[in-house]
Symmetry: C3
Subunit: 205 residues, 3 copies
């Protein structure tokens, strides 16, 4: 995705949005400006760095291109100044978070396929890219990560990544696959929150 200007823009938007989620959690925990920045960086960059390190892309994109870092720092500053406003518009934030989830799941899976990873592990890497930053963010404040607590979070990333594999198998153009994958992950996430979908628990647990 990062090959195109649009792709880079979407990637940076995802980074910014996840940074917002990390910084907002830090504010809720009463952390100072440095704690806010650390959690914003962790949430925004860790998923993509995990993906790149696993693919042998070193230094990872987040260290090769300063704009990733600047997007994450910008999210921390926005939250520092405007967290009360952001708290009030939590619905838009949830929508942006769902968008980031889709963007990262799709870009992670695409990059893995590009580096010759098989479809099944490529889907896993897409999911890790999408949920890894948020998992580290929550573990840093000693919380059980959202990906384990919320029912349809990993599933949404999974659906997005699977669309990429399906699109490649059907030889669809890359742009179509990206749009379908991001939209699918976004819709699954948003509809599941809206309708209160719950995934099945183990019978008798």
């Amino acid at each position: 995705m990062a090959a195109t200007l649009l792709g880079l823009g979407l990637d940076l938007l995802g980074t910014f949005v996840f940074g917002i989620s990390g910084a907002m959690l830090a504010v809720r925990r009463g952390l100072d400006i440095f704690g806010i920045t650390v959690l914003a960086l962790a949430a925004a960059l860790a998923g993509g760095m995990l993906r790149d390190v696993a693919l042998g892309v070193t230094p990872p994109a987040a260290l090769q291109d300063s704009r990733y870092l600047l997007a994450a720092i910008a999210s921390a500053l926005c939250v520092f100044v405007g967290h009360r406003l952001i708290e009030r518009i939590s619905k838009p934030v949830m929508l942006l978070d769902a968008l980031g989830l889709g963007l990262f799941a799709v870009s992670g899976c695409r990059k893995a396929l590009l580096y010759g990873v098989d479809p099944l592990p490529a889907i896993l890497l897409g999911v890790v890219t999408a949920v890894g930053g948020g998992a580290l963010r929550d573990m840093l404040v000693a919380e059980v990560p959202r990906v384990l607590r919320e029912d349809v979070y990993a599933l949404a990333a999974l659906v997005g990544a699977m669309m990429v594999v399906a699109g490649q198998a059907l030889a669809l153009p890359g742009g179509v696959t990206v749009v379908v994958g991001v939209a699918a992950a976004f819709l699954v996430r948003v509809v599941s929150v809206w309708r209160g979908w719950q995934a099945p628990k183990a019978p008798g647990s």
Copy 2:
């Protein structure tokens, strides 16, 4: 080890067994099918992925060969369906976990030596391979990892990895070293649980 069919089989068995441990923890915490799968994947694959990334083997084996991923997913499905049965046979599960510990400690140390790592760091990497997945599993649910809570867990992995280094120093055939290393780690772990061995604490702590 993965060079031989037997070796791959043992590796996949270790992956499956550790996946069971992650999935069972998820069921006990009341997580849904996705949480069960995430914890199974983390417990089964994280140790080996840490090892491979540290050795510069990218993508790591767990992403190059889909069978690792399938073994971990299979463990999640088995637990989803049969966790009550598995809970009842906890002694066999502990034995399998001890076997997985030995398998991963030995395979991790062997792979490190193969990549030219010195004996002492190779032993460390064997231990990390064996305990890393379980540590991530426990950290994901905000628990202190078993490797810190249970007295003779890291020690068992250490003994297994040391056998590999000793076997190489004595120029023993690889197969003998594997059997001795896995058996030693397994026995140290099982006997320590059975006899309630405790490691010394710092005097006056």
Copy 3:
């Protein structure tokens, strides 16, 4: 830094000092000799290993040169035997910890620049090197990491790493940059503890 004998010595001192911090935490939590060693290794080695893996330096220095591992194990043994003495001299330990923070921030940023990373991400990598080990140490015992709890911890590492970038921009000799960077990080940390500096929180949080 590790290119010179002095540099290696400083690196090993940083490793030892951070190992002490991990081992002391383990003693306070009542962990046994293996738990003490695991936390010492995590605190001493994780930051540098993250840095090296992100830069594609595999195996990381801590696995290529057994002296890093021995320094960490030595710190665990010192604490096992002498933790009551070390507890009493907590002020020197805090000073050593501040020194380790400066050493790792500087060496991490220098290594990143050496591998062609841009200044801004190089500063980030310096900070990650300095605070990564401590963060893993605290997460392993299910605590919120010190880097999030203490006001001027990440800032001190940031100042040290920024000095390295400034020194390079001014074409200062490497030795001068190292001394200035380590001293700056050390002083910011020590003075902030001494004067009780607090970083600003988000207004209205």
